[in-house]
């Protein structure tokens, strides 16, 4: 019998979809061992009624603590206390940056084993075994824990399902650790750049570092116009961080998850953090000058070449085709 504690990331009245998926997954796993799944929320005046809705995804109890949102160490303080006081053996996170940070910190605090980027969890002899793709997703490794285990899911690894339950909300007070007390979140969730809509697009033309500079997005805007209709331009985290494209158009780990009919990637290497946000696209076309770029491992059509030469001609050809 093993209990599982799941972190539910909260922002402006809603819980993160990946956290909800982790609760569903945690409830399934705990039930298989004969244990229970509980959720943890840390935030400012989150209503009990909202916290109780996590029961719909499978949480038996919701441990609710007051604390700053968007920082990992206060979450570690609360989860470590709840796990120790209640004899909880495993913690599960739905992925995302704060989950990675909190999972790692919690492993250090509790002297537990930790596995990141987990895509599947199984139960064997009442214990959890985490499955993690490694080496650019060319192999899957299984993690077994000596005692306590911290499992951090890959983005979109676990699907949220509702079951109609309601959770008991338990207020907890955890003394902030010295490290948690020395960080202050000044502002959270600032949207940088224009508000571009990429989630409804049927065709996405996405650009990465290989564009060379912000002007490279001009080429992609023209290509998107040539495709016409329901086409939008998207970007990787690296170029958004560099200020080349608005955050609202970012795909991947800390951005959006999309599944358009056509995803055309220009100058994108295909790092895992990007792949997790677009791998469900129906057709993936990649243009990259590096024949070893990981994106060619999961594209349907890969073009090895200079996007500066290919994209303008492709734009012309598509415009001509559509005009014909």
């Amino acid at each position: 019998m093993a209990d599982i504690l799941i972190y539910a990331l909260h922002h402006e009245g809603t819980f993160n979809k990946n956290s909800l998926g982790a609760i569903t997954e945690g409830a399934r796993l705990a039930a298989e061992t004969g244990g229970q799944a509980h959720a943890v929320v840390v935030g400012q005046e989150i209503p009990d009624a909202l916290a109780a809705t996590l029961g719909d995804y499978g949480a038996a109890k919701v441990f609710k603590a007051e604390g700053p949102e968007g920082l990992a160490q206060p979450v570690v303080d609360v989860m470590a206390q709840v796990m120790e006081e209640n004899g909880v053996q495993y913690a599960l996170f739905g992925g995302g940056l704060v989950g990675f940070e909190a999972g790692a910190g919690l492993a250090a605090r509790l002297r537990a084993g930790v596995t990141m980027e987990v895509t599947g969890v199984i139960v064997e002899d009442g214990k959890l075994i985490a499955q993690r793709p490694i080496l650019g997703d060319s192999a899957i490794s299984q993690s077994r824990y000596r005692d306590k285990g911290i499992i951090v899911g890959r983005l979109n690894a676990f699907e949220a399902k509702t079951s109609g339950g309601s959770a008991e909300v338990v207020a907890v007070e955890a003394e902030p650790s010295p490290q948690a007390a020395r960080a202050v979140i000044v502002s959270r969730g600032e949207q940088r750049g224009a508000d571009v809509d990429i989630e409804g697009a049927g065709t996405l033309v996405a650009g990465g570092r290989g564009l060379g500079n912000a002007d490279g997005f001009g080429l992609l805007e023209e290509l998107a116009r040539a495709f016409g209709g329901n086409t939008a331009v998207a970007a990787t985290r690296a170029v958004v961080d560099a200020g080349w494209y608005p955050y609202a158009g970012q795909i991947g780990q800390t951005g959006k998850t999309v599944a358009p009919k056509l995803y055309l990637a220009a100058g994108i290497s295909g790092a895992i953090q990007h792949k997790v946000g677009m791998q469900s696209s129906e057709n993936i076309v990649a243009i990259n000058k590096d024949a070893n770029a990981p994106i060619f491992e999961f594209s349907d059509l890969g073009v090895v070449g200079d996007l500066n030469k290919i994209v303008p001609k492709l734009t012309e050809a598509i415009a001509a085709k559509r005009g014909a």
Partner: protein, 263 residues
């Protein structure tokens, strides 16, 4: 102010990575290089030093790894670090990420740094976690994937992208900050700096020198055991076009898209 920069030796990106079936660990032989993400951390330290607003007394590069990891330290000092520390001991081999973080924190603790910097992730293990583990052991606040840092004498104001957009966080020093690759453009070392790198002080530490409890490190001290590697479900390999003649290439792309009614 003293800045410690954590660096790591990783397989060169061009070298195919593999798991050694006899040990279940990544085969780390073959060509090695400084983790490219770490060069941003060294550059961030150098810019603080050269910025002139703060008195940076020393930049110390710290790594843990076998003998060959010295090359990562040479690269780090050629990029500007003043000296380096190599934590190396057979008892550390096979440490998982939590044990590695504990060992590094032990070595760092002796240095009493005001700021610990590292890259946002390692190029090989795809871990973004070591900073948070180190910080927990040192009792320092930490933040990952930071793209802008304003350091005053007592605090660092950081900006980073998280789940809902950009967050601004102020942490009091000492702190552990992992920097994102957008924070700067790392410099290339000069020939003179490369030649001079081997002359800068390099301290080699065994586990006992760093005050490490050896029951907490190595394969035996690690709380997670990885193994039973298998291949994931394979997606059929896509078609590849090498662009020799761009007009022909574009013709092929358009035909491919047209066949699938994507235009």
């Amino acid at each position: 102010m003293k800045i410690c920069v954590l660096v790591k030796e990783v397989p060169d990106a061009a070298v195919t990575k593999r798991i050694d079936p006899s040990t279940g660990r990544m085969d780390r032989s073959g060509e090695k290089n400084l983790n490219p993400y770490d060069t941003h951390a060294i550059e961030a330290a150098m810019q603080l030093k050269e910025g002139g607003e703060l008195q940076i007394d020393e930049i110390v590069a710290v790594t843990m790894g076998p003998e060959s990891a010295v090359r990562a330290l040479h690269k780090a000092v050629s990029l500007g670090a003043d000296r380096s520390i190599h934590l190396t001991d057979p008892v550390l081999a096979g440490s998982d990420v939590a044990a590695t973080g504990y060992a590094l924190a032990s070595a760092l603790g002796q240095e009493e740094p005001d700021l610990v910097l590292l890259g946002q992730q390692s190029d090989d293990g795809e871990c973004y976690t070591i900073g948070a583990v180190v910080a927990e052991h040192l009792g320092m606040p930490s933040l990952t994937q930071v793209v802008k840092m304003d350091v005053t004498g007592e605090a660092v104001r950081c900006e980073r992208q998280a789940e809902y957009g950009y967050d601004t966080v102020e942490v009091r020093l000492p702190a552990v900050i992992s920097v994102g690759d957008a924070i700067n453009e790392p410099r290339y070392p000069s020939l003179k700096a490369i030649m001079g790198a081997k002359k800068k002080p390099l301290q080699t530490l065994a586990a006992v020198d760093a005050g490490i409890d050896t029951s907490m490190v190595g394969a035996d001290g690690s709380q997670v055991r990885c193994g039973e590697f298998r291949a994931p479900p394979q997606k059929a390999a896509g078609q590849i076009i090498e662009d020799d003649d761009t007009n022909a290439t574009v013709g092929k792309i358009v035909a491919w898209l047209d066949e699938r009614k994507l235009i």
